[in-house]
Symmetry: C2
Subunit: 268 residues, 2 copies
């Protein structure tokens, strides 16, 4: 039995000083450095492995300080405050003593309450009815995801003709893998840069900060298994070098698993 590339990528070795040693994964490389989603998953994994961890992830914010160089990195994950049912984490990933990612997370023990999804899953064709994205993409991490674009895929022509940054797609790990919190955090970064879609123009970009709110608990992840997620993302403002997007991930049963937001640097 071979290890799934995701599990190999998020593997961390405990160090005597309480930090974790990881290594960038060639399987998830992006244009410059690794896919931000895999670095996010590695940072979250350090929290989940911590012996004092209380509960499951509720909120995660990662700030990308610099592109990681291929090679090892160190993760420090510190519980800054532990309450009765919530815990606040401060995380930093370093290479050569320099911060390459800062992050905070909140974990919590959840109890069953009145619940309601107010943001409905958009009506979309089923995964089997949407063609698999097969266009050649030179980026290695793209091959780690099965993507079926419903609307707002990569522009067919780069002619400045875009009218909306809304994207919807079915997505899951490739090969398929049962969903867990680290892989869900990685999938939260799957959306192509909104500025590409909105402008049908390629410009240099880089995510600066991403926040993920986990609405799903472990049971809902288990229910989702290795099924598809419906991802939706839409930009709100593009202004002087930075744009944001707001996004959601539902499972096939229509349960909203994650809401996520990010702000991205763009040039020109």
């Amino acid at each position: 039995m071979t290890t799934h590339p995701f599990d190999a990528a998020v593997a961390l070795q405990p160090q005597p000083d309480g930090t974790w040693l990881g290594h960038t994964s060639p399987a998830y490389s992006n244009m410059v450095g690794p896919y931000g989603g895999i670095t996010t998953a590695q940072a979250l994994h350090a929290v989940l492995l911590h012996p004092e961890r209380l509960g499951d992830p509720v909120a995660l914010t990662v700030n990308f300080c610099a592109a990681l160089a291929d090679g090892p990195f160190v993760i420090m994950a510190r519980p800054a405050r532990t309450n009765r049912s919530t815990q606040h984490w401060v995380i930093e990933v370093q290479q050569g003593g320099q911060a390459v990612l800062t992050a905070t997370a909140v974990t919590a023990v959840r109890r069953e309450t009145w619940s309601l999804d107010e943001e409905p899953m958009p009506v979309c064709p089923a995964p089997a009815e949407v063609p698999l994205a097969t266009a050649h993409n030179p980026l290695e991490f793209v091959k780690r995801y099965e993507q079926r674009h419903i609307t707002g895929g990569m522009p067919a022509v780069w002619d400045g003709s875009g009218e909306s940054s809304l994207s919807r797609l079915w997505v899951r790990d490739y090969p398929a893998r049962p969903l867990d919190f680290p892989s869900l955090s990685a999938l939260s970064d799957i959306f192509f840069p909104r500025v590409f879609i909105r402008r049908s123009t390629l410009v240099p970009v880089g995510t600066v900060s991403m926040t993920v709110y986990f609405h799903a608990d472990a049971a809902q992840l288990a229910d989702t298994g290795s099924g598809y997620l419906l991802g939706q993302a839409k930009g709100q403002a593009f202004r002087n070098g930075y744009f944001d997007h707001t996004g959601q991930l539902w499972n096939e049963a229509g349960v909203l698993l994650v809401t996520t937001h990010q702000i991205v640097y763009y040039k020109q």
Copy 2:
């Protein structure tokens, strides 16, 4: 000339070790401890006062670890990474050596680029046409804001009849005060808990984490002056003790100043 209560609240004293000493403000007290928006503004102010600060705020995430006790607090704001045009901040607010708030921020020097607001300001009546909220509210911080609720104000009856968590309001500091980054960060937390609106039911709540993306630069804040902001917020999921909302703040001219998100604990 008297000091505006907001300026008094965010005043910080530099300490010999590079930290900042602040004090909770009775003018901004909430049900338990201070209004989260004022703690947010105090944390951001420590970054803005830092002698090594580069550029203006682009992203800010605050995690509320515990209600602050009335009294002094210490803020540590550390530039974890400084690049050519961006800077990454790690912030912690402590009382009695215990973390009460963790935060990260990104500041950046912005350059003029192609820009576009994709999320349009909703069509709403002008501020003068919307009645001032004058209902008695025992919370002190509420008196620090002029609020004119267009839709989704506090329910008139608490009968479980809510159907939507969407709120829109005109809001500004009271007394009026020219907008700056700290006051804009405080205003980003102005929305009543979505669970109150959606359920027309009062339950215990507390914001756990809030993220603010600043689309406005200093010139756009100056253009806004002490005018009204149109605030909009809507919940996406309410699930087992935590709900989120996604929100926006525009100025009267329709410029999207901020997009913001938060996740909030609720009981029952």
